[in-house]
Symmetry: C2
Subunit: 430 residues, 2 copies
Amino acid sequence: MIIGGGFGGLRAARELGRADVRVTVVDRRNHHLFQPLLYQVATAGLSGPDIAAPIRQVLRRQKNTTVLLAEVRSIDVEGRRLVLDEGELAYDALIVAAGAGNFYFGNESWAEHAPGLKSIEDALTIRRRVLCAFESAERESDPERRRSHLTFVVVGGGPTGVELAGALAEIGKHTLARDFRNFDPADARVVLVEGSDRLLGGMAVKLSDAARMQLEARGVEVVLGARVETIDERGAVVGGQRIVADTVLWAAGVRASPLAEELGVPLDRGRVLVEPDLSVPGHPEIYVVGDMSGLKQDGEWLPGVAQVAIQGGARAARNILLRQAGRATEPFRYSDKGTMATIGRSAAVAEIGGVKSAGFFAWVVWWLVHVIALIGFRNRVMVMLEWFWAYISWQRTARVIVDRPMRELAEGKPASVERTDSAGSSGPTS
Amino acid sequence: MIIGGGFGGLRAARELGRADVRVTVVDRRNHHLFQPLLYQVATAGLSGPDIAAPIRQVLRRQKNTTVLLAEVRSIDVEGRRLVLDEGELAYDALIVAAGAGNFYFGNESWAEHAPGLKSIEDALTIRRRVLCAFESAERESDPERRRSHLTFVVVGGGPTGVELAGALAEIGKHTLARDFRNFDPADARVVLVEGSDRLLGGMAVKLSDAARMQLEARGVEVVLGARVETIDERGAVVGGQRIVADTVLWAAGVRASPLAEELGVPLDRGRVLVEPDLSVPGHPEIYVVGDMSGLKQDGEWLPGVAQVAIQGGARAARNILLRQAGRATEPFRYSDKGTMATIGRSAAVAEIGGVKSAGFFAWVVWWLVHVIALIGFRNRVMVMLEWFWAYISWQRTARVIVDRPMRELAEGKPASVERTDSAGSSGPTS
């Protein structure tokens, strides 16, 4: 039984595909999501289905595998049963790979004002807010309110925050350059806030500096070593200063799925403290992989990245087979294949096997790695073509506001649009 | 001032793009929608952004044109002003092209159970229901309930109904063929219900028959001359007989936007009875085009199709310029470029300039016309590639359930999934 069709769960299911076992993958979504590109959906560069593949379709050739769209309510560890939203499922061995959700460090009321980026729904929410902010600016005559519409604060300087900030800067400077009449989209202000003293804390200091410079060259204001004190409907208070902004995006924290609490073992910041072989202490039939799993290697916590989940999923699956064969399980050993983050068009930073690179070459590597990694041939070709087109045209192809644009606008401050009928024949009028 | 960025409004805006006038396009959506392909989004063949283009982007080169995302609340015909959700807009000349919405002939309570297909939101709702119906069938052990999950009723035998029914049949027979373990998706039942005695009433009888035969060859049950008496959560009652079905789709009726009532002139089934030059009686400064406009040509009402809207939009725009120049307006004359409908893979019917065709050739023509007509180069290439890929792989690329899959499933009948953990290693078990 595998809970979760993300990187870890899917890899485990594939590993078990030819073994003499019956496999059931339970997920509350019907699709596997390629999360590293979710920021592209949020910034209208890709559409949701481009980075999502139905779990069922990915695994359809595995005759021993059943995929079930269902929500796991609780885990009966002693009775070896999952309680679902409807019915129950018994298991002999269990892999828990339910991932992580957004976490606001105890300020969960911020969630409403600063959406995070973990699901397609999150990405579409962010896309709607960003596009509607520009639409509100076009309807606005008061310069101060317009500045609020055009200010975007991204909280968190990890890869997601860096990628979001870079993409937002490009949207204003290029994508929307000629689309509005009452303001210049290039005036959009993007602020990236990071609590520590550098961006991309997991990478070399040299690359942190390169990322900051590349972002600043694109007009992003990078604020380091500043704590976010408040996020509300008027914007954010950062290091004692209020930034008035309609749009605040959250990329600062995630936390393991609450399913971890069902296992009845000690947690560290929500993560299950697993044995070296990824099993749960006292329950060798249960494994926890990916973002839910807390394990140190060479004195450092393993990071919450796709590669750790993929390799962990494979290890857990092999350990189940070893145990079934009456043999000893093996400890998990993560092999770091490198980390990278893109800043925008022709700019990225990458650290692969000791080689550190920043700029165009890193960007090409980033691009190739992500296109190749995308699950399913179709997605790969489509994403490549969308990006190629975006690259030569500066356009973003998914600029569609789905769902309640009017309500989104109404949430902004009241605005007069009377100036529109007296607008001049070209360019801004106020 | 143009209300609506659909086929009629956009064509009118383009016609006025080089004239010495100021143009404002008001729409409550940010995108122009290529409605003839909406059924592809509903059946997971395309993603929403593939058939939508931001109105702003389409018109960005027209320096005299402002695009405003806003909802028109009412029209002050005497004061020549639009009242928006926020603020007002004055106009000298007005083109009303707000299109039509779903209409249930007075049974508006059916809307909840039988979604129509007019917007991207509608299409995503239908996609979610269809995909979730198959998921529910996989979770279901009771054969009768499973049959209900796998029964799809399409009401209305016009082009939209025919295209939806054809696509649904293919999803069961091919797309999902190997994806489920507890039932065979080919058992899905698709029923197309039409009140008159033939499909595609606007086309030649010969083609109506061809369409019916092509659908039946794909396993669709075509029910002609039968009235729908009830639609509820258990399915539909058609000609005195209940069809138990989780999914009922509505393609039987549309009605002009309620904005028509704002003009204070006689309506025919919601449509504004316009003068031959498309202006509103008594108000030569207001024109109504597309689905909102009621006009007879050679004794027949003009149909609610894209070509009528496009040609009408151009005529209204030219009449505004003629009137501005102090000259007489010209009557609208619709030139029928042909009609067509696709039934599925390699099958369509088409009637172009007296030539009637059914089968593969018609399908190729349908395909070319739609790809070429898609607004925006990117969409054209993308859609072509998605279809090419779908054609060689039998796959649909947008099988993603966004938003509340669990709630959708919960709306079905309670089901036990206990049989899953005892499922055999291949094929259905019950």
